[in-house]
């Protein structure tokens, strides 16, 4: 199962757990699985059927470019992190 690192400000919804194991073949399925176990999590991550603006998802160390369609492997590590912006 994939390991999801729960952002600290969402941990009150996950009984304080910082990491949760869930199944899902992509980020959308992972969020659905989290929502089923911890109601309210999906609304903190998804807005209008996309990852919330200003938030990114990293799977296995890579901030992907497919958003909710980003593939997740059976042993993947998933992070939801504030987006970073560049400069020159």
């Amino acid at each position: 199962m994939a390991i999801v690192w729960i952002p600290p400000l969402i941990r009150p919804l996950t009984d304080g757990k910082s990491q949760v194991e869930v199944e899902g073949e992509n980020v959308r399925a992972i969020v659905d699985a989290l929502e089923a176990r911890y109601p309210g999590v999906a609304a903190r991550i998804i807005d209008e059927e996309r990852i919330r603006p200003g938030l990114s998802v990293a799977v296995d160390g890579t901030v992907g470019n497919k958003g909710l369609r980003e593939p997740v492997g059976p042993n993947s590590e998933v992070h939801f992190v504030p987006a970073m912006t560049g400069g020159s």
């Binding site: 200003g54 990293a58 400069g87 020159s88």
Partner: protein, 747 residues
């Protein structure tokens, strides 16, 4: 792969250099169009005021005035967040920054704009516009913005805490947190703990070419914009959203760009120019900002308040780290605190950490990206504490970083793992081994400081096409505007992939109608991503040439080596092959679009020697060396130029640069006489050490090199000042008055 004929590693003279050096480059102010009207902008003299009324009637009546616009002429913008090229932005705020809606939110905020037959008439008309303001107290700092009774800048703003929205009006736009391990246990295990608070002031990117907007609204509804920008498609997208014009009706033509450093991604003038052109019956219109307008109203980067607490055990290993980052976003949300929250501890392996980031609106210009946005502030604070910890333990400052430096397998503060090789330790070792580090200091008030820095870099979307010409040259059409030599580095990667010389490739930056979508030149991504597209095209064009020659020569296969194609008894040089293909059938063109999922982070370690004048507090940089993991240096002198440029900007930030406001929130130093950037007379030659830890996710091992170099300088200089004087400076810039006061206090 590269061989003796490879262009890589040689600092080839760029095709565009003779033209630019001779003053024949075409910059935006060189664009002259028939019947062009000139623009002037009325700007708020107040930092915070409600706009009660704007009367433009007298200006409109002035002879020579073609059109006047105010915020009321802008289409209603949606209260919706979109990513328009780099970073998410609320469309309503984007619109209100172009021309103020109901409030002026910073000194210099645009209120109205005039197009007239000449710039003098436009300026005169500006003086005839009557604005009635209700003055409000200015909110200039983090502390003022977060006070219980703080005046609220944006009535609709609520705090976003990872998707949970606050219920009360506020100046705190966002709060987020990274946390892992057990912070309390980590500090309990520490032999030494250091905690300090720091303040950094607002600074500007300082590009030499001011912002310019030139546009024409044609009678068929098509819009043409000439832009000095880091991203033509970003200009197109922002203009489209602000004015509600479909992107298909907007063409953005890039010119040469006189510096950007992140500050030429946001639009300021282009939508206003389009509006005025439309109102003026389709006349082309143009505005060149004055330096004062640039400083007052275009993207500086955030000032910040930062608190750092770090603990280390008796063996010199970090046990815990905690940061609180309060970043001033300017008048609208969107400071670079998200990036800063990783930069702050990314160079070090940490099991127990917490980082809290806060994005706060204040009555200053909307902050824009500036070279590794947010990174310099954060690293200055961390690296100051790192040296203090090392000193308390009696460990050499380089050795301390070697003990704790991040490597493959370690994690950034947000938890994301470095899954591929990273070069931090190599850069620290390069500094430790350098002649500079081994050379002793010789004066009483001399000091030496080290600092490390991290930048995430970026991939982003890139597109390009390549056309084989009959004479064996290749026309390479890309859309990454060239801030400092990327045409060369991209053309070199194409040349390497196909096996021709750089001189055979003719790169150009096309407009938005000629190339597929392309992200901005930013995030240190251009040589990486657009170079990847160039590589792909080189491979594809070579394959197609072999196929076409096999057909022409009627052979099963064709080989290409040392500049010659061969198949059966046939042999042909590259130009001969191009001519054959040209005559034999359809022209040959290839294209590539890429959106790399992976990209390698950059690390840099820097070493500063300073001498402090105890009478004046003036700091002289005696010697400065930068070691940077550059992945693979495609064009070494261009890479060195990036490294040196970033260091120089960081030194300016460290020692002199700051926005100075009066109590009314009015900018007092709105010129380059008063906003003190370093000049060549202030600096020694910046010594460079190119550390090459190739990034495995790029065909040539490229990493972005443009940004990480600005992250450590302020920390390195602060540590050198401490080493020279025993004074730990907790505020940037460390200007003579501040340093002198701190030295006096220590006595």
């Amino acid at each position: 792969m590269a061989d003796a004929t490879s262009p890589f590693g040689s600092s080839i003279k760029r095709r565009e250099d003779p033209r630019l050096i001779a003053g024949r480059g075409s910059f935006l102010d060189d664009i002259k169009l028939p019947g062009m009207a000139h623009l002037a902008v009325l700007r708020s003299p107040h930092a915070h005021a409600r706009i009660l009324s704007v009367d433009t009637s007298k200006a409109e009546a002035l002879a020579g005035v073609k059109a006047v616009v105010t915020g009321a002429d802008l289409p209603a913008a949606a209260d919706k967040i979109e990513d328009l090229g780099e970073g998410a932005i609320n469309l309503m705020y984007l619109s209100a920054n172009i021309l103020a809606h109901d409030k002026a939110l910073y000194h210099g905020h645009a209120i109205a704009a005039v197009a007239a037959t000449d710039s003098h008439t436009a300026e005169e008309a500006i003086g005839l516009i009557e604005v009635e303001y209700e003055l409000l107290p200015p909110v200039m700092t983090v502390d003022q913005a977060l006070a219980d009774d703080a005046p609220i800048l944006l009535s609709g703003l609520r705090t976003n805490e990872m998707g949970e929205m606050g219920t009360q009006p506020t100046n705190l736009a966002q709060h987020f947190r990274h946390q892992r391990g057990d912070l309390a246990a980590g500090f309990a295990a520490a032999a030494v703990v250091v905690e300090r608070s720091f303040r950094t002031e607002t600074v500007h990117q300082g590009y030499i070419e001011p912002h310019t907007g030139t546009a024409q609204y044609n009678s068929d509804g098509q819009v043409t914009i000439w832009a000095s920008t880091q991203g033509t498609f970003a200009v197109r997208n922002q203009t489209s959203e602000i004015l509600r014009i479909p992107v298909s009706q907007i063409k953005v033509i890039p010119t040469e760009i006189g510096g950007g450093f992140g500050g030429k991604i946001n639009v300021y003038l282009e939508p206003v120019a389009v509006l005025l052109s439309k109102k003026a019956g389709g006349k082309p219109v143009k505005l060149v900002m004055s330096r004062t307008e640039v400083l007052q109203a275009t993207g500086p980067t955030s000032g910040s308040n930062i608190r750092i607490k770090m603990g280390v055990d008796g063996a010199g290993k970090l046990t815990a780290a905690h940061a609180e980052l309060y970043y001033e976003a300017g008048a609208f949300p969107g400071s670079p605190v998200g990036a800063a929250a990783n930069v702050v501890f990314a160079p070090y392996a940490l099991d127990n950490l917490q980082v809290d980031g806060y994005d706060i609106v204040v009555n200053r210009p909307r902050s824009a990206a500036y070279r590794a946005p947010g990174g310099t502030n954060a690293a200055y604070a961390t690296e100051s504490v790192m040296n203090e910890l090392a000193a308390k333990l009696g460990i050499d400052q380089a050795e301390f970083r070697l003990l704790n430096g991040a490597k493959q397998g370690d994690r950034r503060p947000d938890g994301v793992q470095f899954t591929e090789p990273v070069g931090l330790l190599e850069t620290v070792q390069a500094i430790a081994d350098s002649d500079h580090y081994k050379s002793p200091l010789t004066g009483k008030y001399q000091g030496r400081g080290i600092a490390c820095g991290y930048w995430n870099n970026w991939g982003g979307k890139s597109s390009a096409t390549a056309i084989l010409n009959a004479d064996g040259t290749v026309s390479l059409n890309e859309a990454s505007t060239d801030i400092g030599g990327s045409r060369a580095s991209i053309a070199m990667q194409f040349a390497e992939a196909i096996g021709i010389t750089y001189e055979q490739v003719k790169p150009r930056v096309g407009d938005t109608d000629s190339v597929a979508y392309n992200d901005v030149t930013g995030g240190s991504r251009t040589t990486f991503s657009t170079g990847m597209a160039a590589h792909n095209m080189g491979v594809e064009m070579l394959a197609q040439m072999k196929e076409r020659l096999a057909d022409i020569w009627d052979v099963a296969s064709v080989e290409y080596a040392n500049g010659d194609f061969s198949g059966g008894d046939n042999r042909s040089s590259f130009p001969q092959a191009a001519a054959l293909i040209y005559k034999s059938g359809e022209p040959l063109m290839v294209s590539s679009t890429v959106y790399p999922r992976n990209f390698g982070p950059g690390f840099s370690t820097q070493l500063a020697d300073v001498e402090v004048d105890p009478e004046t507090g003036k700091v002289q940089i005696l010697r400065f060396t930068i070691a940077q993991d550059v992945g693979r240096a495609i064009h070494p002198s261009y890479v060195e130029g990036q490294m040196q440029g970033g260091v120089v900007q960081g030194i300016g930030w460290a020692l002199n640069e700051e926005y100075v406001y009066n109590e009314k929130g009015q900018l007092l130093n709105g010129s380059l006489l008063d906003y003190r950037m370093p000049t060549a007379l202030d600096l020694p030659m910046i010594e460079t050490i190119l550390v090459e830890v190739p990034y495995p996710g790029h065909p040539y091992g490229v990493r972005g090199v443009g940004e990480v170099n600005i992250v450590p300088p302020a920390g390195a200089v602060a540590n050198a000042i401490y080493n020279a004087t025993g004074v730990r400076m907790e505020e940037l810039p460390m200007s003579p008055p501040r340093l002198l006061a701190a030295m006096s206090e220590k006595k």
